[in-house]
């Protein structure tokens, strides 16, 4: 984070998170990448014990009532570990959002409180084998039977699934309604008819518990419905904020970690009798990289402020999507440059760059691909501009022949 922008409380938070980051055993990071550990439960417990989970949520549920502006500070710091730990860290913030915003008091007591304490692990299941981008195409179904819903279907690529105690699941409750009017969100506890399988063989983000889920007539009590029946669209739109802001803030941390390693390396490594940082082929990569990271951070911060200040929802949506797209693209590029700066050794496990690069390939894909971000960004921007959000001055008129309306042919 830009330290000069932080107030005293934020500086204190940063310090707390840095202490936690120092606590994380190296062996955990390595054992996760080698999949000797398939989920970092101990890490989540420790974060909970330090009261670092779900920072934004009300104090009465165990949170700190902080804002996005604060939480992104913590996420960026934890991002330096790569995607698997960062994702475990932010999951309470993501799943917690649905419960905090749409949940009943009982649901909050039952699910949000242990989540923030780090005592329960949650995961979010949207994606299906059939597809992730087209969320509203969901085919997992939930049929109401008395006081229960019966879930049937499959979910794929669910981070944390391997260890989760409960899942936030989207399922179709009204097959006849238009796609976005027939889906509901549920809390589904791990149980007999919920099969979970850890997915080995990911490029990166290993040890984060990514798995597949199969619901074989899994029975879910009606009281586990989050929000209204057939009302999951609202939940989904709300969830896009935590999913994407956390991806964006975490990405900056990953990029920062790689760039730090590359910059230090290039100040020591010599070729042709010079430190390689003397070559513009190297130091301009560093310049481009730090510019990208700073720009990303600025955008993430603006998006956070937009959400915090209850700005127009459509502008928040645009900024959050831009932040997700830009920060993830930037982080990948920075890590890729960093590998190049290290030369051959960067491709090996002597440095963590190769792991970060494998991890980073995910972030342009998950929580909505960056193409889906573009779909949203253009949509919201058109709405804004065509809705009259124009400059104070008629900028189009500043051309010599601007008044020749005959020349302006549109069809």
């Amino acid at each position: 984070m830009f330290e000069f922008m932080l107030n005293e409380n934020q500086k204190f938070l940063l310090k707390e998170v840095q202490d936690f980051v120092k606590w994380v055993p190296k062996s955990l990071v390595l054992d996760m990448d080698s999949e000797h550990v398939t989920y970092p439960r101990q890490f989540v417990e420790e974060a909970g014990a330090r009261n670092l989970l779900g920072l934004r949520f009300p104090k009465k549920y165990g949170g700190r009532e902080l804002k996005w502006e604060d939480e992104i500070i913590a996420i960026e710091e934890i991002g330096i570990f790569g995607t698997a730990l960062a994702c475990a860290y932010v999951m309470p913030s993501i799943v917690g959002e649905a419960i905090n915003v749409f949940g009943t008091e009982e649901q909050k007591e039952k699910w949000l409180v242990p989540l923030i304490k780090g005592e329960k692990i949650a995961a979010e299941a949207l994606t299906e084998p059939r597809g992730g981008s087209d969320f509203f195409g969901t085919t997992t179904s939930a049929r109401k039977e008395g006081n229960e819903y019966v879930l049937r279907g499959q979910k794929r690529f669910v981070v944390g699934a391997a260890e989760a105690d409960f899942f936030l699941v989207y399922a179709r409750t009204d097959p006849k309604a238009p796609p976005h009017k027939g889906i509901s969100a549920f809390i589904v506890e791990r149980g007999p008819n919920v099969e979970v399988e850890y997915l080995y063989g990911l490029l990166g983000t290993r040890g984060g518990g990514t798995g597949r889920l199969v619901f074989k007539d899994a029975r879910v009590p009606a009281e586990n419905l989050i929000g209204k029946e057939n009302g999951a669209a609202e939940v989904f739109y709300q969830m896009m904020i935590p999913e994407r802001l956390t991806s964006a803030a975490g990405a900056i941390g990953m990029g920062k970690a790689a760039l730090e390693i590359a910059a230090k390396y290039s100040d020591r490594r010599k070729a042709f009798g010079e430190k390689i940082r003397r070559f513009q082929g190297v130091n301009f990569k560093v310049a481009d990289s730090i510019t990208l990271l700073d720009a990303a951070r600025g955008l993430v911060y603006a998006a956070a402020r937009s959400v915090d200040s209850s700005d127009e929802p459509s502008r928040s949506r645009r900024l959050v999507s831009e932040a997700k797209k830009f920060a993830t693209d930037a982080a990948w590029e920075v890590i890729n440059h960093s590998m190049q700066i290290l030369g051959g050794i960067g491709y090996t496990n002597i440095f963590p760059i190769e792991r970060l690069l494998r991890d980073a390939r995910l972030i342009m894909i998950w929580t909505g691909t960056n193409e889906i971000m573009n779909l949203i960004i253009q949509h919201e921007f058109y709405k804004e501009i065509l809705g009259g959000a124009l400059s104070a001055r008629d900028v189009e008129a500043d051309a010599p022949e601007a008044d020749k309306s005959d020349e302006k042919v549109y069809e």
């Binding site: 690529f157 490029l203 009798g273 190297v282 030369g343 496990n349 390939r361």
Partner: protein, 377 residues
């Protein structure tokens, strides 16, 4: 450029790969090396060093056969089976610089797969700047005594014969005092270090090598003493062409896989390849791949005519290897979450291709070579 016999050869080699290589790749990736048996099979079938004269065990095949082998290995996902390094990068040093005795002793066995070759230039302290190597060789009686360390040596854990760049004269400017000496793996004082764990090329054993008063016969020197740096510069030309050919083939294969995927996968009720963004991405890739192919064909032809293609080879190495990485990145993206799964071939291609802008001379070093030609460096 390609004649009927080349096409027949390509078909035969594809069949060979389908039976003897492709089914084993996963296992080799897991083990971190390609077993000797696979090399022997390649040798028996005539796919190692086919360009060698018959008396050294080859079939005097032209360079296109080498290109075909490199391409087909890359396309089948067996880029870690570093046959082109053996056949077209290291063996030429022995053939062009070796004495008759060396050639007779080694080359037929290279062609049979009994000897696996490696070349050791890079050291922990010197990669791009090869003149800065520190490994020394001094003559004592009729033995070279070699001391030093090499790293990132492809085929390093399995090689039987290694061409080692050593400093033999410290009194002259660095590039005038390097020699190439062949070290057999049973030489006293030679030791292999650990295999390096890498982002990709898992089946390719990249290793550290140690020389501690390693003794090899005086006659193991290749060519003349102290000319090693110039020999390397000459031979790196073909090494870079081979790297470019391989990266180009990888790009072609990745594109093919992805185009198919984009025609099958649907989102929002439409094949994903039909969203204009994705269509244009695929079109851009097809265009870049075509440009690479055309340039490479011209380069290969000139190289076969024996022309000096140092500059074009550097252009091809840097542009095509970077292009292949752009292709890999986009192809993973088009696969969505599935591209992130090792189960899908694109995932391994993505890991494997990342090293191409690094080894055989980094992109930056290629640019310096081109810059020199432009009068800028």
């Amino acid at each position: 450029m390609y004649k009927e016999e080349h096409n027949i050869f390509r078909e035969a080699f594809r069949k060979f790969l389908a039976t003897h290589v492709i089914p084993h790749i996963d296992e080799w990736e897991e083990k971190g090396e390609v077993p000797r048996d696979a090399w022997m099979k390649m040798g028996q079938a005539g796919f190692l060093c086919p360009w060698l004269p018959e008396k050294y065990g080859g079939s005097e095949a032209d360079f296109l056969y080498s290109v075909i082998i490199a391409e087909e290995l890359a396309k089948s996902g067996a880029v870690s089976f570093m046959v082109p390094l053996h056949s077209d990068i290291v063996a030429p040093y022995i053939f062009r610089l070796g004495t008759e005795r060396q050639k007779v002793a080694w080359l037929p066995r290279c062609a049979r797969g009994e000897i696996i070759l490696a070349i050791a230039m890079t050291e922990p302290g010197a990669g791009s700047d090869l003149a800065a190597i520190r490994t020394t060789a001094t003559l004592q009686g009729n033995k070279w005594i070699i001391n030093g360390q090499k790293t990132f040596i492809s085929n390093g854990a399995t090689a039987d014969l290694i061409v080692v760049a050593c400093k033999t004269d410290k009194s002259v400017p660095a590039h005038k005092g390097i020699s190439l000496i062949c070290v057999e793996s049973n030489s006293p004082g030679f030791r292999r270090g650990k295999k390096l764990k890498k982002m990709g090329l898992h089946a390719q054993d990249t290793a550290e090598l140690f020389f501690e008063d390693c003794r090899v016969p005086e006659e193991n020197i290749l060519g003349e003493p102290n000319k090693g740096f110039y020999y390397m510069m000459e031979h790196l030309q073909q090494e870079r062409i081979i790297a470019a050919v391989t990266a180009q083939a990888m790009a072609e294969r990745m594109f093919e896989i992805t185009l198919n995927y984009c025609k099958e996968r649907a989102a929002f009720g439409q094949m994903i390849g039909k969203f204009q963004h994705n269509t244009f991405k695929l079109v851009d890739m097809a265009t870049e791949i075509e440009l690479g192919k055309t340039f490479l064909e011209k380069l290969v032809r000139k190289h076969m005519e024996g022309k000096d293609v140092a500059v074009e080879a550097s252009m091809a190495k840097s542009w095509i290897c970077e292009m292949a990485n752009r292709v890999a990145y986009r192809c993973v993206q088009l696969h969505g979450g599935y591209g992130y799964m090792e189960e899908y071939p694109i995932c391994r291609f993505y890991r494997d291709v990342r090293v191409f802008p690094i080894f055989a001379g980094t992109t930056e070093i290629m640019k310096l070579i081109i810059a020199k030609h432009l009068g800028l460096a």
